[in-house]
Symmetry: C2
Subunit: 339 residues, 2 copies
């Protein structure tokens, strides 16, 4: 068919931060479809902290991405051609795809994406693809907060953190958010209704947490790791739950990183520390989506979407996650939505 | 009544290991009993790794022991005089008492100790007071092993570890024990039926664990911490449970100790890391005791008791726990059993 696709390829393993030659953009012809296959025109790509993990040589929750492979990411696309009756031409699909403007796949691991009425497609994808289910599962199923509990969330202005705090508020908790700028803190407190916010760049986090969580912490939702996790562990109440959703402060390191210094509190405070990978919960997404869409429509769940334009800018966009440069859920628009 | 009691007093907070002047032995007259009180003649005292924690200025699971207070320990004694009908003269009692040969108490926190038929009193106390319930709760209620699971236990020849391994065997698991001498390893394998044993002083633990747990680790029962915990975390299977019973490698440190370097595996392998304090489970002890006594009588649960004689030798005995100098459950005999 003569169609050309652009793909980001994994070129060279980064030692620490993502470098200019870590990923390279190349063009390949799009092959003709075989029976069962579909051709996806990518519309949006979600950028998530965990993307960096896929570039490490750690033993992680997925098979390691080999050098020379196309970079992986969560994609929303439109079926441009179809040899698969489950995914008719013109329908929306979402899945773990590649950083490509055109994708040919047998559709394994892809799912139809219902276009929710009254919510822009970018917002629906940004919240429902990864961040929303992650916040929902991590807070409610793993953190198990009770009304009146104090919930602390780090990277609180991030895509997941902002949702975690609001869902915790909806469940009657006192919510303390930790973020890295006064602007982010203001947004969390004034627009999202967090009870307290701490700019960890401006004051000692442990001291600030003692002030803002005077009754101790019942659920600590960790996105960052390092000092922030340690501050939380120090102030956990007995029987508290520590949800390890992300450890972004450690993902750029190729050297071994020490675990939390207050690890002994897992005994002293009888804590449960539990990690999770949202991919494991895919079968339950429709249930989470129904609840999330309800809250999005009612305005109970507020969010910011940060869109960078163009597949060619994907690497620069990804780097923002590690510098706190994004404001809200970070996505790349690869092509305009046809509708 | 002119009776004199000897007590160990907390004299000076140790910086690292327990020092000669950390605890001092002094004599005090025994006061006359008030209504509701009992006078206990101490028979045995259990020495447990957690004793060292009580001497730290950490925020732990108990109120800190103030300098000048009598040192705390788990005691088995005989009621020598009673002004409390629940504890008649001549009956056995157990509880968290002080390092003393005579104890006057209102009996709060003390419980009658049934003398199990066919089991020496020292053994019954040594296994049932702390180590047995700790192994039972930690392995079965927190570790939740399934038949066929691989269970790794560190300090495997210690009081708790040896029981954990045997209870795991009784539940159909593959059991790998980590200990610090060939003698201990031989005992675990030949007498206790562990499937594999590793002397961590003689070979690289991670390499040895890869060999002895070729299918990965489902339940890691940690008594030590540090490198041993890291080796276990590295080889955990997805969804594995990491039971934090003790972190004895860290208790002698007054400086902050880094947590496990492989902490990221809590996400990558979707782990649950959970700590516990056996004191929280006191209400369920009769249920655990019934099961443990059954296994002790049938010979399914084997154990070694290491008795040091004399309250005056308690400090030297406690130090053994940190050098691996004891063989089996460590206790001090304070007075001979009258029967």
């Amino acid at each position: 068919m003569g169609q050309i696709a652009r793909h980001w390829y994994f070129n060279k393993r980064p030692k620490d931060v993502i470098e200019a030659d870590t990923l390279v953009l190349r063009e390949d012809p799009v092959p003709a479809l075989e029976p069962g296959q579909i051709l996806i025109r990518s519309l949006y790509m979600s950028l998530d902290a965990t993307n960096r993990v896929w570039l490490s040589d750690w033993d992680t929750y997925m098979d390691p991405l080999p050098i020379g492979a196309r970079m992986l990411g969560f994609i929303l696309g439109e079926v441009a051609e179809s040899q698969n009756p489950t995914f008719p031409k013109g329908s929306l699909v979402t899945g773990l795809g590649t950083w490509s403007d055109w994708i040919v796949t047998d559709a394994e691991g892809w799912a139809p994406f219902p276009r929710p009425e009254g919510i822009p497609l970018s917002d629906a994808f940004g919240i429902l693809a990864v961040a929303g289910p992650t916040a929902y599962v991590g807070l409610l199923e793993i953190g198990k907060p009770k009304p009146g509990d104090t919930v602390v969330v780090t990277a609180a202005a991030g895509a997941v953190g902002a949702l975690v705090g609001q869902i915790a508020k909806l469940h009657g908790c006192r919510v303390v958010g930790v973020a890295g700028s006064d602007d982010k803190c203001k947004w969390l407190r004034d627009d999202l209704g967090f009870d307290a916010v701490i700019n960890y760049r401006k004051e000692n986090l442990l001291d600030a947490l003692k002030r803002e969580a005077p009754n101790g912490i019942d659920v600590h939702f960790e996105n960052v790791g390092g000092d922030q996790l340690d501050a939380g562990l120090t102030l956990m109440n007995e029987g508290g739950r520590v949800v390890i959703c992300g450890l972004i402060s450690t993902y750029n390191s190729s050297e071994p990183v020490p675990g939390p210094y207050m690890f002994r509190n897992v005994i002293m405070k009888r804590l449960t520390i539990q990690g999770f990978v949202i991919l494991d919960y895919a079968a339950h997404f429709p249930e989470y989506h129904a609840k999330l869409i309800e809250w999005m429509r009612s305005g109970e769940l507020k969010y910011r979407i940060h869109i960078e334009d163009g597949l060619e800018n994907a690497v620069d966009a990804l780097r923002m996650l590690y510098t706190g440069g994004n404001n809200g859920k970070l996505m790349v628009r690869i092509a305009p939505d046809a509708r």
